[in-house]
Amino acid sequence: MDESVIDRAVYAELRDTTGAEFVAELVDTFIEEGPGMLAELRTARAEGNAERFRRAAHSLKSNGNTFGALKLAALAREIELKGLDAEPNRDAAALAAMEAEFARAAAELKTLRNG
């Protein structure tokens, strides 16, 4: 397992303070909700809606931090702070990187949840 995707200490603390069963449920919710937030980013980018773009990034950052998905959170934070790029292609590249990172985080969280 790649420990750089999910910070084990953050995840362990979350599990210890809220319970293993609850964290499993929370992970499932994140895996369900994540694609929607990523899609929201794509839509907001296409519509040029800066407010929605920033808010969706903010949400992903917040959830990334909760689970210890630090790289995902960092990528989301970058987008939140920068907002819509004047050059849409640069945003497309950033979104693709974030989607890939979300997939990695989701896979690893699934393993951790079952572990």
């Binding site: 303070t17 809220t18 909700e33």
Partner: protein, 347 residues
């Protein structure tokens, strides 16, 4: 369940955040309700009471800043404590939350130990404030309590137009001597409950209770349109309630009680008198003295309710009255016209 279980409203547009905060709060023994944006939160707050709000900032429809602003502007909601839970960027945004009245700011993900400490401290503060409010309301009227909470306490008075009412139980001393003290206290409690109810339902407030007597104000501390009419309507209701009470007393083989009421209308000086440590809200002036004299005079006049000329004029014929001519009261320069209001109480 915690010893002091509270009800919290969690406001967050993100489902993972809502679930996690719910779990954290429930683990502390509190009950929760959820809202997914600011608009839903305000709707819920206006429908049911909450002890504390956990509020996210970044939300669609209505964000956390707007919620804080609306809470602050709402008399009924401005005392609901708020902890902002957010991962918002920028110190200036956090400062803005505090300036808008948030009690505290916790960044997400929220540390469970910190959350427990903050919720505990805020609920304790709220409990003390609620206790203080309840205490003020027990010893003052809701109007005075509200006036105190709004404008703070200052000795001194202001001139207002008001109707002043004095009322007491006839033959109270003889009544006290004929029964035990426990029975007297019980009688007084029932009597005051009935009188407070009648006075409050017509917009008046009881400013003093002395033994079996009371003084009530209509038009202070808050202005009251048609204060004279309200005072007379309250007096008639008081007499009516006493008559109903007498039916119960007579069934219990107890003697009937009678009350005498005097009402005068005019300018009074209303405000707080006393010391910084102990003060009372009251009215002074000729109108007050006249109302007291009228109440005393009910015994001589043989009627339950006497009013002065100004009150009689303000009634504008809406209530039947009987002119009793001029009476020279002690301490009054000139004789004054007085009127009896026709009531159901036997003379």
């Amino acid at each position: 369940m915690a010893e002091h279980s509270a009800r919290l409203l969690i406001v967050d547009d993100n489902k993972v955040n809502r679930l996690l905060l719910s779990r954290s709060v429930e683990l502390l023994g509190h009950r929760i309700a959820l809202a997914e944006n600011g608009r839903v939160a305000l709707d819920k707050l206006r429908k049911e009471p909450f002890d504390l709000l956990l509020l996210d900032i970044e939300m669609p429809e209505l964000d956390g800043f707007a919620v804080l602003e609306q809470l602050k502007a709402d008399l009924k909601l401005r005392d609901v404590p708020v902890i902002v839970t957010s991962s918002i960027e920028g110190l200036d945004n956090i400062i803005r939350c505090i300036e808008l009245g948030a009690e505290d700011y916790l960044s997400k993900p929220v540390n469970q130990v910190l959350l427990k400490a903050r919720i505990g401290a805020i609920l304790e503060k709220k409990r003390l404030r609620d206790q203080q409010k309840a205490l003020v309301q027990r010893f003052a009227t809701p109007e005075v309590a509200e006036d105190l909470l709004q404008s703070g306490f200052a000795l001194g008075g202001k001139r207002v137009h008001a109707s002043v009412m004095f009322s007491d139980i006839r033959g109270f001393t003889a009544l006290v001597e004929s029964q035990g003290p426990e029975e007297t206290i019980e009688l007084l409690n029932t009597y005051y409950t009935l009188m407070f109810d009648a006075i409050a339902s017509h917009g008046g407030m009881v400013s003093q209770m002395i033994g079996d007597g009371l003084m009530a104000l209509f038009g202070a501390p808050l202005p009251l349109d048609g204060c004279a009419r309200s005072a007379v309507a309250a007096a008639l209701e008081m007499i009516e309630l006493i008559e109903q009470f007498n039916v119960e007393r007579s069934a219990a083989k107890k003697s009937a009680i009678r009350i005498g009421i005097g009402i005068a209308t005019g300018d009074v000086v209303a405000g707080y008198t006393g010391t910084q440590q102990r003060a009372t809200y009251t009215c002074i002036g000729d109108t007050v003295n006249l109302a007291a004299r009228l109440e005393t005079h009910t015994k001589q006049a043989g009627c339950a309710l006497l009013i002065d000329d100004a009150t009689q004029c303000a009634l504008n014929g809406s209530v039947p009255t009987q002119a009793l001519g001029e009476v020279q009261f002690k301490g009054k320069g000139a004789a004054v016209d007085i009127f009896a209001v026709v009531t159901g109480q036997p003379a």
